[in-house]
Symmetry: C2
Subunit: 232 residues, 2 copies
């Protein structure tokens, strides 16, 4: 992607993130997603806190926790505040009709999903390139697996139609915050995401998948033509 396009997408994400953060009210507990779009949301939240908003954040990764601390977003622990009012996060793909998502490119899918599932509302911020007609359009579904017996688990992923590749970093298996591996699964457009999710969840060794079904309640889409807000 040309540099100009990346900068333009960043502007779309930023505009959408600032719009999403308008939904946050005083006194809320806010789940903080991970990744580049979620970082804009943390920045937007910090801007509102600077002008008087009082909230507590629950981060989904060390990176988000560090950014929040640096920008002055006060944090709380998930074991104190189990119920979260709003989580704001990005996505790798989003279906506008179903609000189903694919997440996990950044490797924080498990914590992101646990926090999203514990939230009254999940607001998803994306630029328009992430909107797809059908999940899988990007060809890519991350699945988090336990290291023990991962080769056998990968064989079972392949048997349900995914083509797993072990994510690596510096020549070693990439380790999630939870100490698991990521299978980057090659997929085509997914016929029935609910069926696929059930098949994947049933495989021993699969901790969770990048399919976020029925979790998002609002999509905030940064488009060149402006910010579009979709509510379920």
């Amino acid at each position: 992607m040309p540099v100009g396009d990346a900068a333009m997408l960043d502007e779309l994400k930023r505009a959408a993130a600032f719009r999403a953060v308008e939904s946050v009210d005083n006194g809320m507990v806010v789940g903080l997603g991970s990744g580049s779009t979620a970082a804009f949301a943390i920045e937007a939240l910090a801007a509102r806190i600077a002008t008087g908003l009082s909230v507590l954040g629950i981060p989904t990764s060390e990176a988000s926790a560090n950014l929040a601390r640096r920008l002055g977003v006060p944090l709380t622990a998930f074991d104190i505040h189990r119920r979260i009012d709003i989580t704001i996060d990005g996505a790798d793909e989003a279906e506008p009709h179903s609000f189903h998502l694919i997440k996990g490119r950044g490797g924080a899918l498990l914590r992101e999903k646990i926090v999203a599932a514990a939230s009254d509302r999940m607001i998803v911020v994306v630029d328009e390139t992430k909107i797809v007609n059908r999940l899988g359009a990007g060809g890519f579904l991350p699945v988090e697996v336990v290291p023990f017996g991962w080769q056998a688990t990968f064989a079972r992923l392949a048997a349900v139609g995914c083509r797993p590749r072990l994510r690596t970093a510096d020549g070693q298996p990439f380790l999630t915050d939870g100490g698991h591996f990521i299978a980057d699964c090659g997929v085509a457009e997914i016929e029935d995401v609910v069926v696929l999710e059930a098949k994947l969840a049933h495989i021993p060794g699969v901790v969770d998948t990048g399919l976020f079904l029925g979790l998002a309640s609002m999509l905030v889409v940064g488009r060149k033509s402006g910010v579009e807000v979709l509510e379920r």
Copy 2:
């Protein structure tokens, strides 16, 4: 339980374990379960190896690995032998009509399930007190969960009808070999184990459950009246 009963149950388990190990043939890769009954199977396997049987074992816990080494059962790594001929393991409850199981009292359920799922056959050895008409009769289903946000995960377990209690050891949360927690869930007899397993697997933060459905191919039951063998 009176000491005499425990010793008697051990004899039933031992007899069943020795019968189960008769199914092992020369050259096989054998999954080694965990727990007291699986220990008898490792002992029985060692006895056959002492008289000439040549097999390789894949252990499901450090305890089983240590016992196998001590008794002279040669081990191999799961990443070399991904396909296992037979796994021999115990169970906390077994349904004789469906071959469905509950496992996990020993805390090794995840590795046991990964190994069982990678096996051509799973032989389950139990004494007669483990045979139930319907799973859940013992009132108890272990579920392995990630530590992050475990309180929120427990709330979701409760919402599907389980009553989770965090397993502890020496006053601290019990940690599995994979670094996860165990929710010891209070249950009644389970109406539909397939539905419950799907609900539990769908909860973010649940790594796996003690429900072993469709994995066992043979039940070897130590009864006071003798060893009973059930095949699917």
